[in-house]
Symmetry: C2
């Protein structure tokens, strides 16, 4: 059913995003840099038909519009905006993390260098605001301004989350509380904004939109914790990454932070240089002994339950309500 | 008189910008990264009272509001937005150009590294949109949306200009026409937007705002050409840079592009590796022989005249009209 939702929304979303990107003042090579991360062209400018990313955020936004009683086509400009914004943040993240590949292709900075990738990200950021302009055709200007405000607040949250994430890499001890504050910004804020903006466009009611925001925020946190679990215990055949990649990179994800709080041996181990596959194996053993998997699963479940409670308070309606519940379930049930 | 204008506007502008930046969700080290480039703190977080930059763009915006018959205090959110946006672009430019200093201080990336500087720039970008939100308190929502549109279009122009600037560095031949298209985006678009947004806020009239935009665009181009002249023939004691710095960096500025079109010896010379002070001296000789200074001066004068003509069509009023003419004159008469 998620696939049928995607099939319903994605062709129009894609067409809308293309119109927004086409409105950018042209320069041949720059055109390619902006369309490449969206999966529309290859690095040489030839057409590409292999989509990048699952467009989960715009689907969540459009479902929220419908579930709040509105017409999803009126929300397409906002759906395009969140997907462009998500891609902006990936382009800059990949530079900041020195990541060579994404979705199985070289990252923008790998192809065109860091200076161009910074600029392409900046353009994608501006294009996300350009996308929002389309809302005014079918909505009162006051509501549109409100959507802009939510969007900008989200962008500020994203940069704060990114700051904390980078700082935690250099910080020896990070508390579980600090970690949850970081992922609220870096991962969950945009998910919250999708639900909130979608519902505001659909209902034009601030209270409804706030319940949807609460749903999205908790869903986004649960989603990130599931990612943390998959990064350690995920089946390489399912995740497409090698086993325990996050441990080899010594990420301070939730299960690790919990383990570090429980076990002094783990704390010493995680500081060692060099850190090779034997260290990875021992770390996973100690995490298992500390009950880090069970802790992370329980925390994930808590946020997932909060998300569902918020969704009930939001009083979603129609087929889209089922769609939202199914989307949440699908994200929650990703295998490991 | 420019100083008296600045004294009139700047304390309130500064207070307004501080309120916007203070609205950012906090993180101690991040707070410093955002306030440092604005000249409010030193890198260690201690207070700094040496201002960075002359705030020419917000002054132009506020003058345009008054000259278009409006109350400049209603335009403070937009004035804060353009100054924050200008600072965003400087933070990212300095990474892209590997520039170690700005305004006599280490650049953001020099102090905190490239990854943090990318993120600080992104936050400053989002803060510029946050600033615009303040307009709604004193203006119809439709006008505010219009200001957002001009602002976003400017951001897209900026990234296009930045793309062309970086591409021209690697491109052997650049035409004068290509160059003017680049500086229209990179340097003049924001100046145009200042005049246009200010006038729109002051008059709520699109036609008036368009004449102001035309004034700003031509002024911005003239301003950049003057910068190009100063980068070659500027008196080191006045510019604060060593003589002919732009030639040593082999910038493809307007006088150079003109010279390259006139003189084959210069074309060969400009390709040589290594390129030292003897090459710089010979280049300046050949530029002088080709009449590159006179050409650049004539081009600058053309754009300056166009700016003044557009200003007349805009029918500015009151003391602010004199202020705008004085601002233009002051920028035009920078010594070399």
């Amino acid at each position: 059913m998620i696939r049928s939702l995607a099939q319903r929304y994605l062709p129009e979303l894609d067409a809308h995003m293309r119109r927004v990107v086409d409105s950018m003042p042209a320069a041949p090579e720059f055109d390619v840099m902006l369309r490449y991360p969206l999966g529309w062209v290859n690095a040489d400018g030839s057409a590409n038909h292999q989509p990048t990313g699952k467009r989960i955020r715009p689907i969540l936004l459009l479902l929220s519009t419908e579930a709040a009683g509105g017409d999803w086509t009126a929300a397409l400009p906002a759906a395009a905006a969140v997907e462009l914004l998500h891609n902006f943040s990936l382009i800059h993240d990949d530079i900041q993390d020195d990541s060579p590949t994404r979705h199985g292709r070289p990252t923008v900075w790998t192809v065109w260098g860091r200076a161009n990738a910074i600029n392409a990200g900046d353009a994608m950021f501006a294009l996300s605001y350009r996308a929002l302009e389309g809302l005014a055709a079918r909505m009162p200007a006051e509501i549109v301004l409100n959507v802009y405000q939510i969007f900008t607040q989200t962008n500020l949250e994203l940069t704060r989350g990114q700051h904390l994430d980078m700082r935690f890499e250099r910080q020896r001890r990070v508390s579980v509380e600090e970690y949850l504050s970081m992922i609220s910004g870096k991962s969950a804020a945009l998910v919250a904004a999708c639900a909130q903006m979608g519902a505001l466009i659909g209902s034009r009611d601030q209270d409804t939109a706030r319940h949807f925001a609460d749903f999205g925020l908790n869903l986004g946190i649960a989603f990130q914790i599931r990612d943390d679990i998959l990064g350690i215990w995920g089946d390489p055949q399912v995740t497409g990454k090698s086993a325990a990649t996050d441990i080899l990179a010594r990420k301070k994800s939730l299960p690790v932070l919990y383990g570090l709080e429980q076990d002094a041996e783990l704390t010493d181990l995680y500081d060692q240089e060099p850190f090779d596959s034997a260290h990875v194996e021992r770390t996973v053993q100690l995490l298992n002994k500390a009950g880090a998997l069970e802790y992370a699963q329980a925390t994930e479940t808590t946020y997932y339950q909060r998300a569902l409670e918020a969704l009930s308070r939001a009083k979603p309606i129609g087929e889209a309500e089922k769609g939202l519940r199914l989307l949440a379930e699908t994200l929650f049930q990703r295998a490991y």
